[in-house]
């Protein structure tokens, strides 16, 4: 195990959206800060830094996590996906397209985190019920939309049944 003295930087290698990236961070650096500042993944938004709002949600090793509650050093060797991975060739995926169609975002600050949580849900359960979607979106705070358009968009993306 590496032992670091105060002020030492740890080298971190991880896979971000399919690409190998590396950087250096103090052991106390938050993963959210590392992804934004060292990796340029500014789609990771920091909204509360205490794990409630969900803006910073990413998928790490196949699980949706709050990147403000993880340290950068914990991501050594991890496979991380952020919102930047969802439209690799610039074409919105079905969920993103449904968000646009249903006006499921206004300021857009909470949106990346919600998208990542929904992507995580769909991988575990491709046909979730409305209640499950509400439950997952219930882990995020959004102040603009009032949520209903987000739920409608997710339902539409999943089975085209939303109005």
């Amino acid at each position: 195990m590496t032992t670091l003295k105060p002020g030492d930087l740890a080298r971190i290698d991880l896979t971000l959206n399919g690409e190998a990236v590396s950087g250096h961070a103090e052991p106390r650096m938050l993963l959210a800060d590392f992804l934004r500042e060292k990796c340029g993944a500014t789609g990771v938004h920091v909204g509360c830094e205490h794990g409630v709002c969900g803006c910073c949600t990413i998928v790490m090793n196949g699980v949706a996590v709050r990147s403000c509650l993880a340290l950068a050093v914990q991501a050594e060797g991890a496979v991380i996906e952020t919102v930047e991975s969802l439209a690799p060739d610039g074409t919105l995926n079905a969920m993103q397209e449904a968000f646009r169609k249903h006006h499921a975002l206004q300021c857009g600050f909470c949106t990346p985190g919600i998208l990542m949580s929904l992507i995580d849900l769909l991988r575990r359960n491709p046909k979730p019920e409305r209640e499950e979607i509400v439950h997952v979106v219930g882990g995020h705070l959004c102040r603009c939309t009032g949520y209903s358009n987000i739920i409608d968009a997710a339902m539409d993306a999943i089975n085209g049944t939303a109005k």
Partner: protein
């Protein structure tokens, strides 16, 4: 529009279509450009703010020496530094209420900025904050506005001699006579709570002082109004052109809150000048909840003169509004923004209003969505419900009887508002019609028949938009206004630019917050120029050195639809008229015969005679000499829109406070769970008349968002202070923002009575549900419980208190000794427990009194110094929930009864808060060694108090456990812990850790 050219377009117009947004492609892919995402100049330093843990205290001394010695720390600024190089912010009243960007001499609310640390990164800046020693002399604080204006209250600003810093009374018509002649007088007192709509992105400022040009170049997610720009320039002691304020392309929500970033723009500007480098500051969420901004809380006494049939002939109201510790510009806006509309949707001719401004030791209140509307309607619409109850009439019938009738618009209200258009009876009948009200009543009867608790509420509100910049002048008596000059009007600006290839760019004076203004502007301009919205680029970044702006610029008071949108329409119309004349010459036809459509300029009568849009546009650039006579070269038009209806206040204080007035009628049914006391919204119908809807998809998005914010005000959100001014709702675990699981369905309905005062017929629409929903739900709860006083937010605890009474105190004997002694204020933590230590009491006693041993035992202790016999000074690191920091502690041991018991008392102070309290430790010999019992009560204030009792209880528990575990180790033997349940109920460390890391996930 020139009637001659206003022909039928080939296609239906873009305005009016439910078009998805231009903005979304970037925001959905993580490519938004928010302030914190923007590149900063090389060498930019980072700032962190040290804030007051006290609600009211004198700053005796600030010692930053230890902070400055940390590697990476560049500077520490204090109020004394700031005061030498800047002026206090301008305020709207004449009283001496100076506020600088850092506290000077005294602190007046928990969270007030006390010092600014500038360092190479944020982590280091936060380290440094822990090493600044501030010596405070705490003073009594005043929190409740009624207490604040009472005789003998502690003064927030001693120089003002009173906490009621301004009062004005207004009389319209003859209310005295109306009350004397009334059949009934119905009175009510209501209290509107303090809350915010907490945008998900906090404040961001990047300030770069350019010494050579003596210019502050600032990027910030400021939202306007830009009337704050001269306030900032004056504070910085510079002419306005030396403050270049830029806003980014995207902002993570605002709802009024991001006006309040302006003191920090000044602070970071001063810091940048002081250190000679650019300085960046990103506010964190704890700071934001603690002290960013909030809406003002208000106590209103209101009464109505009512005739037997329910007709209201006069209203009398006394509004006591609490703005916190300072009157931040443009306060007291919420008291006056609604002034003209004080009689709401009703045809009431006699009115008496008294507006009183109170200051308290709370964070300054400022702009917030709804801005005075929610407060006003809580009083007026609750009163209308009370009139129905007291006169034994149907609530809906009292509303109907008093509504302003159709056909009388434009309608002048008692206080001078000129309601532009509307058909209130049609809107009300539309909402309740088709059996909707009958269905709701049937539902109520069914639930009540099975023993449930169900109520129906209504609210009728007028939603003003685009504020008259002169409304605050009403604060001054007419004679003073005459002397200093009346303010009035409201300027909107937009520019349409067409390049040589015919590509169109639009800029405007709206500061983005997520509404989708770029999309709507592209619809408006596309209609004028015969293009599609996709053809048009809209850039709503603002740069005060280069762009069109006025003091009215920004996004607030729903001014986009009646203001900025109109300016863009006018600018595009001018471009269009110019292009028509150019094209007419080239097509060799009359301008009347030219139309712009399908990306072409063509003859209406002979569509084959056509030129591409780009070709015509290019002429203005490439061939200026060939232009028709009188047509200026180039294709750039800036239009100014300043509607003449926004007149200054009249001599008798009548003021048309806004340009457009929409109408909302809400109706809801709620059910109260008799076990959990939770209020559940069963059905909610909201009928809107916002004039012409320019994009129904976006309009409804605004209404749905406002609805949930109104719901949050009614049921969830509140900034809570204790009596001493400690702030108790400083994290998202304590300040409850509704999530998707709490949201009832909303049924939106619309009628459209276009505004005659705006060329597009559109009115503002984004704030109305913030005004209507809290009172509609309060009315439904009043109906359900048959009660008069309905406090907000209607949390289960409050509903329980309404239905059952306040919770009884625990039976005598259950409280501990420490608990009985507990101080009356602050976030109190009490507890007791016991440990077994395998050593004799005398050995344990010795360890407790040995500074070296104690230092090893106290968790997180860096230093422990014996200052006097049994008096210690220590420096310790402690963590509570999401915050962790260094504290300086003073501990005194007294009542020493060797080796049986001792009393500990002391205090703790650090950047995250302060604490004081005490406890008793008792030792008794047992077979295996010593049984050690402890009992404590501590009061905590500052950030540490704000993050929540659950966390504090758990943290205190763990710290004390660690202490005794350490003590046991120190005396060298094994111990067995048997901590008994502390005085408060808790479910152990696992639950605490879950609360700490899980949030509400």
């Amino acid at each position: 529009m020139d009637a001659a050219v206003a022909g039928r377009e080939a296609e239906a117009p873009w305005v009016g279509r439910a078009l998805p947004r231009k903005e979304d492609a970037a925001l959905l892919t993580g490519k938004g450009r928010y302030a914190d995402d923007m590149p900063v100049p090389a060498g930019t330093l980072v700032a962190h703010i040290l804030r007051s843990p006290h609600a009211h205290a004198i700053i005796r001394n600030i010692d930053a020496a230890r902070a400055l010695s940390l590697p990476g720390v560049k500077a520490v600024l204090t109020g004394e530094d700031i005061r030498k190089v800047s002026d206090p912010f301008l305020v709207a009243v004449k009283e001496p209420l100076p506020q600088w960007s850092l506290a000077v001499e005294r602190v007046r609310f928990v969270g007030e900025p006390v010092a600014l640390i500038v360092a190479s990164d944020r982590y280091i800046a936060e380290d440094a904050a822990e090493k600044i020693d501030v010596d405070y002399e705490p003073l009594p604080a005043v929190i409740d506005p009624r207490a604040a204006v009472a005789v003998g209250a502690p003064l927030v600003h001693p120089d003002v001699k009173s906490n009621e810093v301004a009062t004005r009374s207004f009389t319209y018509g003859d209310p005295k006579k109306a009350f004397a002649e009334a059949d009934h007088v119905v009175a009510l007192e209501v209290e509107y709570p303090r809350n915010s709509f907490t945008p998900m992105e906090c404040f961001v400022v990047v300030a770069d002082y350019r010494a050579a040009e003596q210019t502050f170049d600032v990027l910030s997610n400021f939202q306007g109004p830009f009337s704050a720009h001269p306030v900032m320039a004056r504070a910085l002691r510079i002419p306005g052109n030396r403050l270049r304020l830029r806003t980014p392309q995207d902002s993570g929500g605002s709802f009024g809150i991001k006006l309040s970033v302006f003191p920090f723009i000044v602070l970071m500007g001063l810091a940048s000048r002081a250190v000679g480098r650019p300085v960046k500051w990103v506010e964190d969420r704890l700071e934001h909840l603690l002290a960013a901004s909030s809406g003002p809380n208000r106590v209103s006494k209101i009464e109505a003169a009512v005739m037997k049939d329910g007709r209201i002939t006069a209203l009398r109201m006394d509004n006591l509004e609490d703005y916190g510790a300072f009157l931040r510009a443009p306060m007291p806006g919420p008291l006056y923004r609604m002034h003209g509309a004080n009689t709401g949707a009703y045809d009431i001719h006699h009115l008496e209003v008294t507006n009183r401004i109170a200051l308290t030791n709370k964070a300054p209140a400022c702009l917030i969505r709804g801005f005075g509307g929610p407060q006003l309607y809580l009083a007026v619409e609750r009163l209308v419900q009370r009139i129905a109850v007291e006169l034994n009439l149907e609530h809906i019938d009292v509303i109907r009887r008093n509504l302003i009738p159709a056909g009388v618009f434009p309608y002048k209200t008692a206080a001078g508002a000129l309601y532009d258009s509307g058909d209130y009876p049609r809107a009300v009948e539309g909402a309740i019609g088709d059996g909707r009200l009958e269905a709701l009543k049937k539902r109520r009867d069914e639930v009540r028949a099975r023993g449930g608790i169900y109520g129906i509420g209504f609210a009728a509100v007028v939603e003003p938009a685009m504020s008259n910049m002169g409304y605050l002048s009403t604060l001054l008596p007419a004679a003073v206004r005459e002397r200093v000059g009346d303010k009035n009007g409201a300027v909107s600006l937009a520019t349409v630019n067409v390049d040589p290839l015919g590509a169109v760019t639009v800029t405007a004076d709206s500061a983005v917050q997520g509404q989708g203004h770029a999309t709507v502007l592209s619809q408006i301009v596309a209609d004028q120029l015969g293009l599609t919205p996709d053809d048009i680029v809209v850039n709503l970044e603002i740069d005060t050195q280069k762009d069109q702006w006025s003091i009215a610029s920004g996004t607030y008071s729903s001014r986009f639809s009646p203001g900025t949108a109109v300016a863009a329409h006018l600018a595009a119309e001018r471009i269009r008229n110019k292009l028509l004349r150019i094209a007419a010459k080239q097509l060799n036809i009359l301008p009347d015969d030219v139309e712009l459509a399908d990306g072409k300029a063509r003859s209406r009568t002979n569509p084959d005679n056509a030129l591409s849009f780009g070709r015509v546009a290019g002429t203005a650039h490439w061939s200026p000499v060939m232009l028709p006579e009188g047509v200026e070269p180039g294709l750039r038009e800036t239009a100014t829109w300043c509607p003449p209806e926004l007149e200054p206040p009249s001599k008798d204080d009548r003021i048309n406070t806004s340009l457009t007035y929409g109408f909302i009628f809400d109706m809801c049914g709620i059910e109260i769970d008799p076990v959990t006391f939770q209020v559940r919204v069963d059905r909610y119908i909201s009928m809107h008349d916002a004039g012409r809807l320019m994009n129904p998809l976006l309009a409804e998005g605004q209404m749905k968002g406002a609805f949930v914010q109104g719901l949050a005000t009614a049921l969830y959100e509140e900034f809570v202070y204790d009596e001493r001014g400690s702030f108790l709702s400083g994290s998202f675990a304590d300040y409850l923002v509704p999530t998707a699981t709490e949201i009832p369905p909303l049924e939106l309905m619309h009628i459209e009575t276009p505004s005659p005062f705006t060329p597009l017929g559109a009115k503002g629409l984004a704030e109305g549900n913030c005004m209507s929903v809290p009172v509609c739900i309060a009315n439904a709860v009043a109906d359900a419980l048959s009660m008069k006083d309905i406090p907000l937010p209607l949390s289960p605890r409050r509903v329980h208190a309404l239905m059952v009474g306040e919770e009884a105190p625990p039976p005598a004997g259950l409280g501990t000794a420490a608990k009985q002694e507990k101080p009356k204020d602050g976030r109190d933590i009490t507890g007791k427990g016991a440990f077994e230590v395998s050593a004799a009491p005398s050995e344990v006693w010795r360890t407790l009194l040995d500074p070296e041993a104690l230092k090893r035992v106290i968790p997180g202790c860096h230093e422990l110094i014996l200052e006097a016999p049994n008096a210690y000074r220590a420096e310790v690191s402690l963590g509570v929930g999401p915050v962790r920091g260094r504290f300086r502690a003073r501990v005194l041991l007294s009542d020493l009864d060797e080796p049986h018991s001792a009393r500990l008392s002391g205090s703790l102070a650090g950047p995250l808060g302060a604490a004081s309290g005490g406890g008793v430790v008792g030792l008794s010999a047992t077979e295996g060694g010593t049984r050690l019992v402890y009992d404590y009560a501590v009061t905590v204030s500052g950030t540490a108090a704000a993050v929540g009792g659950r966390l504090l209880d758990g943290a205190a528990d763990i710290i004390i456990r660690k202490f005794f575990e350490g003590l046991a180790r120190q005396v060298g033997k094994e111990e067995t812990a048997s901590p008994h349940a502390s005085a408060r109920k808790r479910s152990g460390i696992i639950a605490w850790l879950r609360a700490l890391f899980g949030g509400r996930k």
